[in-house]
C-alpha cells in the first residue's frame, strides 16, 4: 500500500508514504489527505481543476508548502483536493530556489462530500522526506 497510517500518532493523524517517483509521492500525499478529509462523495461530481504552484529550497520544504497550500485552498475556497492530474517538478540544485512545483489537481466542493475529520495544519514533528533505493519515503503528521 503506498500510504499507511502511523499507529503511534495519538491525537492527530500521521501517514507514511512510499512512492517510486517524485510525481507519485505527491499523488499519494493528495490521496492520503483526501482519505482523511472525505468519508465519501454524496453523488458523482464533476471535479474542479486548479493549478498549485510552490517553490522551495529543499524537497522537504516543497512538500510542507504543498500540503499547506492544500489546507489553504480547503479553508478559503471550500475545495478538497481529490487527485493529482499532472505534476511538473523542476529541480535545479545549483539555484537558491532548488525546487519548483507546478501541479494540476482535481478538487471537490464541501457540498459534495460527507466529511471525515478536518486537517488544520501540517506538523514538522517527525516530518521527513528521504530518497530510498526504490524511490521516496515521506512521513507527514497532519494536525487534526
Amino acid at each position: 500500500m503506498p500510504y499507511v497510517f502511523i499507529k503511534d500518532v495519538i491525537a492527530d493523524i500521521g501517514v507514511e508514504i512510499r512512492a517510486n517517483s517524485l510525481n507519485n509521492l505527491f499523488s499519494e500525499i493528495v490521496r492520503s489527505f483526501y482519505s482523511i478529509l472525505v468519508q465519501r462523495l454524496t453523488a458523482p461530481v464533476n471535479p474542479t481543476p486548479l493549478r498549485v504552484k510552490v517553490k522551495a529550497v529543499s524537497l522537504e520544504e516543497l512538500i510542507f508548502k504543498f500540503v499547506d497550500e492544500l489546507i489553504f485552498i480547503k479553508d478559503t475556497k471550500g475545495l478538497v483536493s481529490q487527485s493529482l492530474v499532472q505534476c511538473d517538478i523542476l529541480v535545479n540544485k545549483k539555484a537558491k530556489v532548488k525546487y519548483c512545483l507546478d501541479a494540476k489537481l482535481n478538487f471537490v466542493g464541501f457540498e459534495n462530500i460527507i466529511a471525515g475529520v478536518d486537517i488544520k495544519a501540517v506538523s514538522l514533528h517527525r516530518f521527513s522526506v528521504k530518497q530510498t533505493q526504490n524511490g521516496y519515503k515521506a512521513v507527514i503528521v497532519f494536525d487534526i
Binding site: I13, F72, I114, G116, D118, K120
Partner: protein, 468 residues
C-alpha cells in the same frame, strides 16, 4: 522507576520528580495516570528540559500525552533573555474552554433539548468547511484580533459588558499586532470566525451531577444538582493554525542558521527578544484574541438559540459567563521561580494546560460520555506549576485505533438512549472522540486535587452535544 536513564522519584501525593542534567521535571499524576502515559511523553519532556533558554522546571500535567515536540499537558517558563517555542504553544493558539450557567434544571429543559441541540447545530457551524454568521472585513479582523472581546462587545454589540470580566486577560492579550500576521492567516481567519471546528472541539449542554463545594459554586450561580450549564471547547481555527505554521518554518530556518540545537523540528525556539521572537509574540497575541472572540461570538449564538427555542430573552435563563480560560498559550506573568524563590516576570508557555491562579475558575473538559469539571485555582499551583493545572482527560487511543474499535453510528444511538443528544458533522469524527478514546477525567481531577494544583467545585454530565 527509571525513565530513559533518569530516576523518577515520588515526592508527594500525585507528584513525581525527574532531574535531568539541566533542570527538574515535575510530573503531577497518580500512579495509574503515570503508567498510562506513552513513553514519548517522557522523551519529549526530557527534550524540553534540555532545550535552551528555559528557567525553572518543566511541569507535566496528569492528562499529558505525546504531542509535537513538547507533550500536550506541559508547562514551562523563560525569562526575558530566554526562548519562545511556537510549536510548544501549538497550532491551535488559545484553544480553550468556556462555561455558561443557566437557571434551568435538566427536567425543565427536557421538552426542548432535542430542538435546542438542533438549533445550536444550525447556528453554531461545526465540522469541515462551515462558515460562521459573522461577515467581517480585513479592517474589522484587525480590530478584533488586536483588541479582543472588548471590541466585539462594545463595537459590534455581540455580548454583555460583564462577559469581559469573566475571561482570562479580559479577552484581550497583549502584545497583539496585526502587522505580523500573514495574508494567508487573514484569509483563513475571515472565513472561519464564529465556527466550532472539528476534532475534539465541542459545544455541550450539561447538567450538574455533583457539587463538591456548594459555597464556591454558588458564587457562580451554580446551586443545585441537575442545573443546566453550557460548555464550549474551541480555539483560533485556521487563523491560529496558519500563524503557527508560518512562524514554525521561519523559526526552524533561523534556528538552524544560528546553529541552535533542535531536539525536535517542531520545537524550534528563538530568543523572545529577537526580531522573529517578538514578531511571533505579536502574531500569537492576535490569534489568542481571535480565539477569545470566536468563543464570544459563539456565546452570542448560544444565547440567541435559547431565545428562539425557549422564547423570551437570554437573560431570563441567566446564561452568564462563569469563565473562559485558555489551555494553549504563552504569556508574560509574575512568578516565584520554584527553585529560586525569587519573584520575576517570566514567559509561561502552557500547552494543554490551564492557568490555575488562586480563586480563578478552571474548566476541565472530559469526553462526551464521561463529563467535565469546574475547579478552582489554588495558591499551591503558583508554587508548584507556574499557576497551572490540567486541561482535559487526555487521549488514550489514537484516532485510527478509536475508529477501528468504535462504530460512530452505534455510539450515537447508545448515547441517545442514555439521554445524550448528539448532532455531529461526521460519525467517524464521533467515533474518534468517544469516551473510550480518552483517559478517565475523574482520575485527572483526583490527581490535580491531590497535588493541590486546583480543587473540584462541580462535576457535569452531558445531555446534549454538538460536534464537528
Amino acid at each position: 522507576m527509571e525513565v530513559f536513564g533518569f530516576k523518577l522519584i515520588k515526592q508527594g501525593q500525585a507528584e513525581y520528580v525527574l532531574t535531568t542534567k539541566t533542570r527538574k521535571i515535575y510530573f503531577f499524576a497518580t500512579e495509574k495516570l503515570l503508567s498510562q502515559m506513552d513513553q514519548a511523553v517522557f522523551h519529549q519532556a526530557i527534550n524540553l528540559a534540555e532545550s535552551q533558554g528555559l528557567v525553572g522546571p518543566v511541569c507535566i500535567m496528569p492528562d499529558a500525552h505525546s504531542g509535537y515536540g513538547a507533550p500536550i499537558g506541559s508547562v514551562f517558563a523563560a525569562d526575558e533573555s530566554g526562548f519562545v517555542f511556537p510549536g510548544a504553544i501549538g497550532f491551535d493558539i488559545n484553544c480553550g474552554m468556556r462555561l455558561l450557567v443557566t437557571n434551568l434544571t435538566a427536567k425543565e429543559l427536557e421538552p426542548y433539548i432535542e430542538k435546542l441541540v438542533a438549533k445550536l447545530y444550525e447556528m453554531v457551524p461545526a465540522g469541515v468547511g462551515k462558515k460562521g454568521f459573522l461577515s467581517i472585513n480585513k479592517n474589522q479582523l484587525r480590530s478584533l484580533t488586536q483588541s479582543g472581546v472588548p471590541f466585539l462587545v462594545k463595537e459590534l454589540g455581540l455580548g454583555w459588558a460583564k462577559d469581559i470580566e469573566a475571561i482570562e486577560e479580559r479577552g484581550g492579550v497583549q502584545p497583539a499586532d496585526f502587522e505580523f500576521v500573514s495574508d494567508r492567516a487573514v484569509a483563513r481567519g475571515l472565513a472561519q470566525l464564529a465556527t466550532l471546528g472539528s476534532g475534539n472541539h465541542y459545544l455541550e449542554i450539561q447538567k450538574v451531577e455533583k457539587l463538591f463545594d456548594k459555597q464556591t459554586a454558588g458564587k457562580y450561580s451554580i446551586f443545585t444538582k441537575d442545573q443546566v450549564v453550557v460548555m464550549l471547547h474551541c480555539g483560533s481555527r485556521g487563523f491560529g493554525h496558519q500563524i503557527c505554521s508560518d512562524y514554525l518554518i521561519a523559526f526552524e530556518k533561523q534556528a538552524r542558521q544560528q546553529k541552535i540545537k533542535l531536539t525536535d523540528r517542531q520545537l524550534a525556539g528563538l530568543p523572545i527578544m529577537s526580531q522573529l521572537g517578538q514578531a511571533y509574540l505579536s502574531a500569537m497575541g492576535c490569534a489568542a484574541n481571535y480565539a477569545f472572540v470566536n468563543r464570544q461570538a459563539i456565546t452570542y449564538q448560544i444565547r440567541r438559540c435559547f431565545e428562539i427555542v425557549l422564547g423570551g430573552k437570554a437573560q431570563d435563563y441567566n446564561l452568564s459567563l462563569v469563565y473562559d480560560v485558555s489551555h494553549n498559550i504563552g504569556k508574560f506573568e509574575q512568578h516565584n521561580l520554584l527553585d529560586s524563590g525569587v519573584e520575576q516576570r517570566v514567559f509561561v508557555q502552557r500547552k494543554g494546560a490551564t492557568r490555575s491562579f488562586p480563586n480563578q475558575p478552571v474548566i476541565i473538559g472530559g469526553s462526551m460520555e464521561t463529563g467535565s469539571y469546574l475547579l478552582l485555582g489554588t495558591s499551591d499551583s503558583l508554587k508548584k506549576s507556574f499557576g497551572s493545572t490540567a486541561h482535559g482527560a487526555g487521549r488514550r487511543l489514537s484516532r485510527t485505533q478509536a475508529k477501528k474499535q468504535i462504530d460512530g453510528r452505534k455510539l450515537w444511538q447508545d448515547l441517545k438512549q442514555k439521554g445524550i443528544y448528539i448532532k455531529s458533522a461526521s460519525f467517524s469524527g464521533l467515533a474518534e472522540e468517544a469516551g473510550l478514546a480518552y483517559k478517565d477525567v475523574s482520575e485527572v481531577v483526583s490527581a490535580v486535587s491531590a497535588a493541590n494544583l486546583s480543587r473540584p467545585i462541580a462535576y457535569f454530565k452531558p445531555i446534549g452535544n454538538i460536534k464537528g
